[in-house]
Each structure stands twice: as C-alpha cells, then as structure tokens.
Amino acid sequence: MTIRHHLSDPLLMAYAAGQLPEAFSLVVATHLSMCDDCRAQAATFDAVGGALIDRAEPAVMDAGSLDAVLARLDTPASPPVRPPVRPRVRAAGLLPTPLADYVGGDLDRVKWRSIGMGVKQAILPTDRAASARLLYIPAGRAVPDHGHRGLELTLVLQGAFSDSSDRFGRGDVEIADQDMQHTPVAETGMDCICLAATDAPLRFTDMLPRLVQPLFRI
C-alpha cells in the first residue's frame, strides 16, 4: 500500500496538542494506524509538547500534594500494572483498531443506512464539535456534488475515489476546506468505503439532497 495523500502538519500538531474535535481525532488516529510517515511526524509533535512541559514555569502545588499521591500508590487499586496480555493491534479485518473501537467490531458490525442512489452511511458516536461517519459508495457511483462550510477529512478504507483534484486510494486522506467544491466518484471494480469527518454540515448544490440533509445529518 502506497499512501500518497497524508495529513498536514497543522492537523498532526493539533492532534498531538489534543486540540482536535473527537471526530477529527478518529480520522487522524485511523490514518496513523495505516501510515508510518504520519505516525513518526505525530510523535515528533508529541516531543514538542514534552519540550513545552519541560520549559513550563512551575506552578505551586498544594501542601501535601506529593504525600497524597504517594499514599495513593500504596492502595490496592493502583499496584504497578502488568502489560496487557492482548495489545490493541489489528485483527484480520478491514478496519484499523481505533475505528473498530467506535464501530464495535469490523465491517459486518456497521449499521448502514441508505441515503439514496446506492450510497449508504453510518454515523459514529462522537462529541458534537464535529461529526464522523462511514460512507459506502458503490463502484462507479458518485457522491452528490457538495461544497463545505468547514473542514472535511475523508480517509479511504477500501477501493478508491477520484474527484477534480486527484485520485485517493486506501490509506489516502483528502483534506477539503470551504474553497473546495467537488464530486467524488468511486472507481469501478470495487465498492469504496471511506471514513469522513466534518465540523460543519456539507452544502449540497442540488435541491433534493439539500431537502433531505437534516434527516440524514450530513
């Protein structure tokens, strides 16, 4: 798998800083599980956070703070924990672990809802600052032409799609902002499955999708 479209530095930095809405964090964590380049870059931004902690002007701790924590170390609830027997590594399925955690299993556990033209979606539970959903686009089919009011991240999990800007295959992530108006088309040969997150409702240009938009929360 060769990933050609990566996460941007501002996104990786915001993820390391813990400043992304949950839905975007999910896309980032899923991409990092597939892309060593971005994983390494994210780790460097963690190191920047470490340097900031190291340089922080110390605050005054409450009196007895250290003693309180030392006392906690002796309670039976917090002995040094042994490594977990089973690490969070990917099972044989298609979905990387962070995504499988939200779905509650692999693809067969996704509760798809049809949104017309053979396109299906499943909204994932995240906080309301942004929304995340899985999209299922039959091979050769288009997602209705739409623009964006905010930021939209689309990560390909299976198959591929193309739009006016480029081609996106498994592991690729498309970063779309409000300047972008696009019609993603799934490639023929294999149905396309994507994870998409946005911090604003999509703006469909056709009348009909706009009417049904509130119903489907896209």
């Binding site: 501002p10 930095m13 915001a14 390391a16 800083a17 813990g18 400043q19 949950e22 975007f24 999910l26 980032v28 964590a29 899923t30 990092l32 599980s33 060593d36 380049d37 994983r39 390494a40 870059q41 994210a42 780790a43 963690d46 190191a47 920047v48 956070g49 470490g50 340097a51 900031l52 902690i53 190291d54 340089r55 922080a56 002007e57 110390p58 605050a59 701790m61 409450d62 703070s65 250290l66 924590v69 030392l70 906690r72 170390l73 917090s78 040094p80 924990v81 490594p83 969070r88 590594v89 990917r90 990387p96 672990t97 962070p98 955690d101 939200y102 995240t126 906080d127 930021l151 902002d177």
Partner: protein, 216 residues
C-alpha cells in the same frame, strides 16, 4: 549528573544515597528557590523513571514528582483549567506515571514527552468527557532491551529540541505555545514551526521501518 549506562558511576540499586541526593537537591531547589541554570538539561529523568519502572522506587518517583507535577499543573492552567482541577489532574498524571511505568521505553520517548501525552489525555477527559482516538499499537513483540545507540540519539533529540525551543524568536515560540494551550484553531496553526523536527522524525521513521521489517 549525566548518568550513562556504560559509565562506572551509573548508580545501581545499591547506591541509595545517590537517589536521595537527587530528591534532596530537588527539595532544596523548591524551598529555597535554589536552581542551577543547567539542572534541567542535566538531570537524568529517564534514569529515575527506570528506577520507578524496575524497582518501584519511591524516592525516584518523588524526584520526578517535584520536577514534573508543578509543570503539568502550570501547563494545564495555561490551557484554561482552573487551579483546583489542574492540581487534581497533575496528581492523577503523576499517579498514572507510576501505574504505567512498565510502558516507559526511553528509546521511544523522553520522560517529558511521555508526561506530556498523559497530561494531554487527562485534560481531554476532564474537559470534554470525550475520548481521544489513539492509533493502534504496533506489535512490538517481546520487548528487546533498548538499543543504547538509539537511547543516546533519543536523548540528543530531546536536548536539541529543548535548545531550539529556547532559541526561537519570541513571536514564533508564543505561536507554538498557543497551539498547544488551545488558543489557536487548527486552521490557524502555522505548519512551519522552525524547530528541527526532521531529525527526530527520521529517527522514529527508521525505528518503525525496522519494526515493520521484523514483523514480515
């Protein structure tokens, strides 16, 4: 006090006065405002962390607490957390450091970086009741002893990054700090940090490559 595993002065488990000297120095510093300019760079936090990990050494933990807890609290307060909650979170972060000590691997991250990631996740828990999705764990297999060359490189990375941070123009440093304290939206964060991140990234990337290679 730069300890090195290959150095004969490396304090082993039997040299108790060494540990207490560290703790005493930290206490002196705290109580009397006594502070050496070079302390921060030269104290070997990783060596203390390894004592916590391998020997459940409370004196080593206390020294780590005295350095990191006030900084975590300050970091959280700069991020908009109230003093009382910041204190509670800082205590939780340090308790987590003890509980998860078995996960510490100095070839992968410095103690400061590790403390930062724990503090970040604790802040998200406290503030949003939301979770932060984490990438899946790589299957590291049975943990080999960290390669000493890698450990040294990781330490040099950390020092280099700290120095670079100190040398940044004030305006640029403020921008990076604001990004981490949550004062900037993700679209406002400047991609160009001016920090020598490439060297760190390529070291981590190499480690991942070796790992993937070992797995196939």
């Amino acid at each position: 006090m730069m300890f090195d595993a290959t150095d004969s002065t490396y304090p082993d488990a039997d040299v108790l006065p060494q540990q207490y000297a560290v703790a005493t120095l930290a206490r002196l510093r705290r109580n009397k405002g006594f502070r050496l300019a070079s302390d921060q760079m030269n104290t070997d936090w990783a060596a203390l962390m390894i004592r916590v990990r391998d020997q459940q050494d409370k004196a080593a933990f206390a020294a780590l607490f005295r350095h990191f807890a006030p900084r975590v609290k300050s970091f959280l307060m700069r991020s908009g957390t109230g003093a009382a909650l910041a204190e509670e979170c800082a205590q939780d972060v340090m308790a987590t450091l003890w509980q998860k000590a078995h996960l510490f691997d100095e070839s992968r991250a410095s103690v400061a970086t590790w403390v930062f990631t724990i503090a970040r996740n604790r802040r998200i828990d406290a503030a949003r009741k939301a979770r932060r999705a984490e990438p899946e764990d790589l299957d590291w297999g049975p943990a080999p002893a960290p390669d000493q060359a890698e450990v040294m490189e990781a330490r040099q990375d950390t020092d280099r990054l700290s120095r670079a941070m100190a040398d940044l123009p004030e305006k640029q440093r403020a921008l990076i700090e604001r990004a981490y304290f949550g004062d900037l939206s993700h679209s406002e964060i400047a991609a160009e940090t001016g920090l020598p991140l490439g060297t760190i990234k390529s070291r981590i990337r190499l480690a991942l490559d070796r790992l993937r290679h070992a797995m196939t």
